[in-house]
């Protein structure tokens, strides 16, 4: 008996719409991605403020000190007790030079950190000759709700 070979058509999926979408997604992510999150730290949940406005970029790189909920300071990627910050800052100034004292200090405190610790931190910085301080906060849209977790 003669067996008829069935001619199977190879179906080709049309990939064009998918590739279009994927490229659009990539373009979107490339545009919105920010790599300059050196100043951020995953342990820190900043307090919110409705009147704070995004800071303008300046040429000078500020000293960023994080303060965790537990009251420990994070400076240069290392977590230390607030009291040990004096040594850390002194070393930093020794390495980077005296002009470091003119740089602003940005304090990124956790919203549930103790205020006294923030003040202690400012005092320690002052003792090292630092004078400009800024408290960092997250912008909050008005009527977003008070201070929900």
């Amino acid at each position: 008996m003669k067996i008829k070979k069935k001619q199977t058509d190879q179906t080709e999926a049309d990939l064009t719409p998918m590739i279009d979408m994927v490229f659009q997604l990539i373009a979107f992510f490339m545009l919105v991605i920010t790599f300059n999150d050196n100043e951020q730290h995953e342990k820190i949940v900043l307090p919110k403020s409705e009147t704070v406005r995004p800071t303008e970029k300046s040429d000078e790189v500020p000293l960023v000190i994080h303060l965790t909920k537990e009251g420990r300071a994070i400076f240069g990627g290392r977590e230390v007790e607030v009291d040990d910050m004096a040594n850390r800052l002194r070393n930093h100034i020794d390495v980077k030079g005296e002009e470091t004292r003119r740089l602003p200090v940005i304090i990124r405190g956790h919203r549930h950190a103790e205020t006294g610790k923030v003040q202690d931190l400012i005092k320690i910085c002052q003792d090292q000759g630092l004078e400009k301080f800024a408290l960092r906060a997250k912008a909050k849209v008005r009527n977003q709700g008070a201070t929900g977790d």
Partner: protein, 165 residues
């Protein structure tokens, strides 16, 4: 002339698989590293090294508005008191209204909003969020168009107190 129809031309197929592989890898990378960036901003605080000596301030110096923030044992705010007199409970809008009245409508270098000062006196254990709330309400307000209107420019902390044990 005889025109040859080249009907037997082979369709060139592009190999899409490697490109799709790479594109998907890129997509996954961007999705994994994507972080919704919430805008952040700074409040400048006025903390000169030469802390003013305690005692009677010079006559020409306007005394700062003292905002006392009292916390309970768990760090929550229980009282806002201005100049050791008026208490606003935990209502920061009351504090803001006080500051708005204090600064008036004057602007310029000699106005209260430029030369005046707020001194925050906070309990050691107070949650930092409440300090930022106080700074927010003393330093500015929002108009109808959501633009920030500056109130008090200079804000400072009183010297830290040791934690009550």
């Amino acid at each position: 002339m005889k025109i040859r129809h080249n009907d037997n031309q082979e369709k060139i197929e592009l190999q899409m698989t490697p490109m799709i592989d790479i594109v998907f890898q890129l997509l996954i990378f961007f999705i994994m590293t994507f972080k919704i960036a919430v805008p952040e901003g700074d409040f400048n605080i006025n903390m000169p090294i030469s802390a003013p000596s305690e005692g009677v301030p010079p006559l020409d110096e306007v005394p700062p508005i003292r905002v006392r923030l009292t916390a309970n044992a768990s760090g929550e705010l229980i009282d806002i008191r201005v100049n050791d007199a008026t208490s606003y409970g935990t209502n920061f809008e009351g504090l803001r209204n006080f500051v708005i009245k204090y600064v008036g409508h004057e602007t310029g270098p000699s106005s209260a909003r430029e030369s005046g000062e707020v001194e925050l006196v906070c309990d050691y254990g107070l949650h930092y969020q409440h300090v930022i709330d106080a700074v927010t309400h003393c330093s500015g307000t929002l108009d109808e168009d959501n633009n920030t209107v500056q109130l008090m420019k200079k804000i400072k902390f009183s010297p830290p107190k040791k934690k009550a044990t």
